[in-house]
Point group: none
Chain length 243, copies 2
DNA sequence: AGGTATACAACTCTAATACAAGTGAGAACC
DNA sequence: GGTTCTCACTTGTATTAGAGTTGTATACCT
């Protein structure tokens, strides 16, 4: 197989650190334990950890172990709050309602991204405390979705249902005016501003496994992006002119 | 008629890169895999890939593989393409026009972020090929801006003018309807959707040195964010509910 | 000249193993 | 109590091997 494993492991450990699963100052599991957990050799685990050391996230002492760096130099970065965390914190109850669930022919751009024409499309609306805050449409290859039921999709996040190790994603964020359909679902006036974003998620093999589109009411939502480095421009990173 | 096959292959691979089928930074399929897919020899695939290397789109390392050029190994959380890159590629000429340049008392939120009340505020509009695509307002502490002139600000990006090593930034991205003022500057109808983002930039000392707000017309702009790892939620990373 | 086929060298990643060197905690001893 | 010793465990480093990859050269076909 053609995946470079220590990248994935570095990302996994990193996300655990950032999510607070490994608190600052505490020890990480030993190299042996991690190599057992991920079923890779100790050498590979080391490479992953050394990446984190280069990034200043972790450090080690011989004979002692690896620990989360950052007692002295506070990391000003990362730690993006996910919707779920925020809801937990504020005590709001999340809820998903599936609107459409269909195996069908993919739109052209989705078809090229997924490299299939036959896809499963799931459209649903997400609510926080009964108030809608997102319309989400997800496409995946039909064969991947064959064993999924509507109840599955309503209960669990899509990521957990796919039996594929996921690597990363790219997403575009734009704004638009709400269509009549969107306005009705989100309970906002037609034409009021919404955030629209499209995300493609890839597996560790580099295959695009998910395409999703999201619509958010602008008055309730905003994105937060942490940039570890600054670019040369005052223009916000990642902005792109579209035709 | 004699067709040169590696040109077509180069174009095909290129379109996959640009469409995001091969994510930035990730590995391309190996020369062997590609030669099997296109039913051509490895030599031909190589010629195609070498064209892409000449164009700066891809690169390779012996024993490692081909990958999408642009970010090398240890790229952090969010790798973002800048406006300037895109403009260079598309041949558009960027232009800045300063609208306001004043030393004054800071608004409350800016004052708390910068830990000063006396600030320099610069408001300007950015144009691409004569068309406005952004309204940018930048605040920095008055003492830092004392030696800056309007001409400086019009000529160079703000980052270069400050004699401080910058570490990173966090930015929020939201949407809103254009006000009359914004609409006039961006030449769009009042009330049409705009992307609004606010960024705070910190120095390596952890001090916030810049606060900036940006307004973009939604029909011309969108953000692209690469997420090296996925979070547990299908909801886009960094989205935040606001009150 | 473009394309195929083949072979080989050099490099990368990963696994498996071994050993050196440091740490920490408790046992043993004075 | 205080000190030393021992032992299990950890990281640091090196070596071997194999599979997979790019780099390069040669010969041949259309």
């Amino acid at each position: 197989m053609r995946t470079i494993r220590y990248h994935h492991i570095a990302q996994e450990v990193k996300s655990r650190i950032l999510s607070g699963a490994y608190a600052t100052g505490r020890l990480l599991p030993s190299e042996s334990e991690l190599s057992a957990e991920f079923s890779v050799s100790r050498v590979t685990v080391r490479k992953a950890l050394e990446i984190l050391r280069d990034e200043g996230l972790a450090d080690s002492r011989q004979g002692f172990g690896w620990f989360v760096a950052g007692d002295t130099v506070r990391q000003p970065l990362a730690r993006l709050a996910t919707i779920e965390e925020q809801m937990r914190d504020s005590g709001a109850t999340p809820e998903r309602r599936v609107l459409e669930f269909a195996f069908e022919k993919a739109p052209k751009d989705v078809a090229t991204a997924l490299a299939t024409t036959q896809v499963l499309r799931v459209k649903r609306v997400n609510l926080a405390d009964g108030e809608p805050f997102a319309i989400v449409t997800v496409w995946c290859a039909a064969e991947r979705g064959q064993h999924l039921s509507m109840a599955d999709v309503e209960r669990s996040p899509f990521y957990e249902l796919l039996d594929v190790p996921l690597a990363g994603a790219t997403q575009t964020i734009g704004a638009d005016a709400a269509t009549a359909d969107e306005a009705a679902l989100l309970k906002i006036p037609v034409g009021s501003p919404v955030l629209k974003c499209q995300r493609t998620t890839t597996s560790v093999d580099g295959v695009t496994v998910l395409v999703s589109r999201h619509v958010f009411p602008a008055h309730r939502t905003e994105f937060v992006v942490d940039l570890p480095f600054v670019d040369q421009s005052i223009a916000p990173s990642g902005l792109r002119l579209v035709e």
